[in-house]
Subunit: 421 residues, 2 copies
């Protein structure tokens, strides 16, 4: 067999090479990913420039400054991790925590379990506290656990789409500072659609993704670090072999990952511009456009638009006679968990919405699986027409499955919210 034979065979096996992509039209009203802003999609088709082109480094700097606006922070160490939102989480946790360090993870949904999981993989000593799905923690419960566990890091999800709850964070930073604990939050699902004040709330590290309220595709993880967090990371500094120079740091308790070593990623984004990964240029273009759109609209205005869309969707599903799961007072703006009525086949409803209307709403994880649909209103789709179209389609499909619903009631109730705004 010559080296080229398998190729030809494989090519024959492929029979025909498929044509260009042509996805069906979709209105993505689930818990994310959601339909990206059209201008973010356009930004992704922008031609590439070289890794150290003056335009590239200037755009990296500019994108950092835009994300300082998004995060409401003055943190110099504000950048993107090249991967999905969980790449940002792992980079933060593995860089802040040494093997054996104690970390406290309050779990109020699936993504709390994920933080604990990622910390366990980093060989840390993970302590969790849990509350029922659909609830958040009183601040006192978190402080009590901090006093008991004395962790190096508190790792706390802000908005957990699995339950739709948003944990109040505004008093947690001061508590962490008092107890000498680094405060990390996963803001993947909340950033851009809910208040998030990195500096005012005393966060030491926070990470997100583009595919929720920021209105972009998954694949880039915005991250910000306080000076205190940067000091912890710098103390573990190690420049990789192959580009290390005399006098460069070589800590023995180096970070147990090259790709997620935030010290090296900082040196790549910072003035040293030390080669690390090759920045994912098209994702940078997308991330820049997501932040730019938010700051053009205005940060407060974008969050207010999400609050209004969330309120309209909530009023609409309630007017269709559907129950809401969880503590509505702590619901995130951008997603609602709607109880599937008795006798209605939840998955068949979702399939009908997708097949007949091109509308996607979400299923659920774990204890909520089969019990609720999750309907999102975020990013580009936090719009009146997206809310009303989804409610009209949902009413039609519920009727088809024999559920009596007030005709036009959902659309009317949502319109009332918009009219009153």
């Amino acid at each position: 067999m010559t080296a080229s034979e398998p190729t030809s065979t494989l090519e024959r096996n492929l029979m025909i090479v498929p044509g260009p992509l042509d996805p069906p039209a979709r209105l993505l009203m689930g818990p994310g990913p959601i339909s990206a802003y059209p201008s973010v999609l356009r930004a992704m088709s922008t031609p590439l420039v070289g890794q150290y082109d003056p335009f590239m480094t200037a755009t990296m700097n500019e994108t950092q400054e835009l994300y300082r606006g998004v995060w409401a922070t003055r943190n110099e160490a504000t950048l993107l991790v090249d991967g999905t939102s969980r790449a940002g989480i792992e980079a933060a946790l593995i860089s802040l925590l040494r093997p054996g360090d104690r970390v406290l993870v309050p779990v109020f949904g699936r993504f709390g379990h994920l933080l604990a999981e990622i910390a366990e993989r980093a060989m840390t000593e993970v302590h969790t506290i849990e509350t029922a799905w659909g609830q958040v923690f009183p601040t006192s419960a978190i402080e009590d656990a901090i006093v008991r566990v004395r962790p190096a890091v508190l790792a706390l999800v802000h908005g957990d789409t699995s339950t739709t709850m948003a944990q109040p964070l505004d008093e947690i930073g001061a508590i962490c500072a008092r107890h000498g604990v680094l405060f990390y939050s996963d803001a993947t699902a909340s950033l851009g659609g809910n208040a998030f004040e990195t500096d005012a709330w005393g966060l030491d590290a926070a990470t997100a993704g583009l595919q929720k309220c920021l209105g972009g595709p998954s694949g880039s993880a915005p991250l910000t670090l306080s000076e205190r967090a940067v000091e912890v990371i710098r103390a573990r500094g190690r420049i990789e072999a192959g580009i290390r120079e005399e006098g460069d740091p070589e800590a023995s308790d180096f970070i147990r990952s090259n790709y997620f070593d935030l010290g090296m990623i900082l040196d790549y984004w910072g003035p040293r511009r030390l080669n690390h990964h090759t920045e994912a240029t098209s994702m940078l273009w997308a991330a820049r456009e997501c932040a730019r759109l938010m700051l053009i609209e205005g940060r407060d205005a974008t969050i207010a638009r999400h609050a209004l869309a969330g309120e309209a969707m909530l009023a609409g599903v309630r007017a269709l006679g559907l129950g809401i799961f969880g503590d509505v007072a702590h619901k995130m703006n951008n997603v609602v968990a709607v109880e599937i009525p008795e006798g209605v086949p939840g998955e068949a409803v979702r399939a009908a919405l997708l097949d007949d209307f091109g509308i996607e709403i979400g299923t659920s994880f774990g204890p909520l699986h089969g019990r609720v649909w999750r309907i999102g209103t975020m990013g580009y789709n936090a719009r009146p027409d997206a809310v009303l179209t989804t409610l009209a389609a949902l009413e039609t499909v519920l009727g088809r499955f024999g559920r009596r619903v007030p005709r036009g009631g959902g659309v009317e109730a949502a319109s009332d919210v918009y009219r009153a705004a």
Copy 2:
């Protein structure tokens, strides 16, 4: 201070939000990243669909099949890691190697050091052998080291852009199989532009990126695993908390990363479709298009186009009287290291090419820094007009810096190569 004050301050500090992206025109003729194929850029602006949309899962399956064609393999476990090429490397090494395992890394350039570095971070016992930059290893030297070290994994760069050398791999797989060693290769810089036969060469794992010969942006890492490699990974299986079900594996020697746990990534790409990360949809669109273009052109034809462009560029720079670094018999098709002539300021030449002609050629790392330029001909830019334009511009700039070069000689020599093809 209310929560919203810092935002307003920051927004004021931003002064004005910048406009849409508008990068300068660039012909990227360095060692990568290079200019993406126009249809790959267009594919990236394709609207998104949901994570479990039938179109999404069908496209993931289709992309796996396309990459089996690219890799010349029948490996079921052929997929994308969501990150840059070094994310793929880390996923492969951290999933195949347990802490304390021995790994052998033959180093013939910077990227061999990177493999060693990533393996060290994974707390493995790293053994290296080195050869001079510009050379490759005789197969016997690798076999001797395998016999001496008895590693669990041989980790070997295929094409190292830092030196432009391509290590012959065709006999290594059989040697590894004979000694019970898993054979991993980093094909980031070579795949798509040089022969690479995953199955015929007996590879157990190989990874790449899009930003070299595949003609896409950085940010997605194609990866393929043999059945033997999958077995090793499955033996360390652990489904993450939050979605773990009764009877799911929970190995104690689990992989020390969640994001790079190839077992979980396989379950996401495979029929179980277990939620892991949220697939970076736009990068998937790009990766699919890169593979599709290669298979439409034909795998052998694409590699032949790279060989021809490389030959033309080599003839062109030689005809300009410039020396070539390294063992030309083992040069990769897609990049050449050109010696910077005595008295010519290397960085000023690069700057003039970029500023006056919009053409980027590459600088170098480590021992070659300041000694050679690296000129690439890959992906979209493995084209006659790109080769000739670069040579014409280089001739002009060299003349400007007082270097006597035969007028039109580089272009003529390269044209001769194309005419003779």
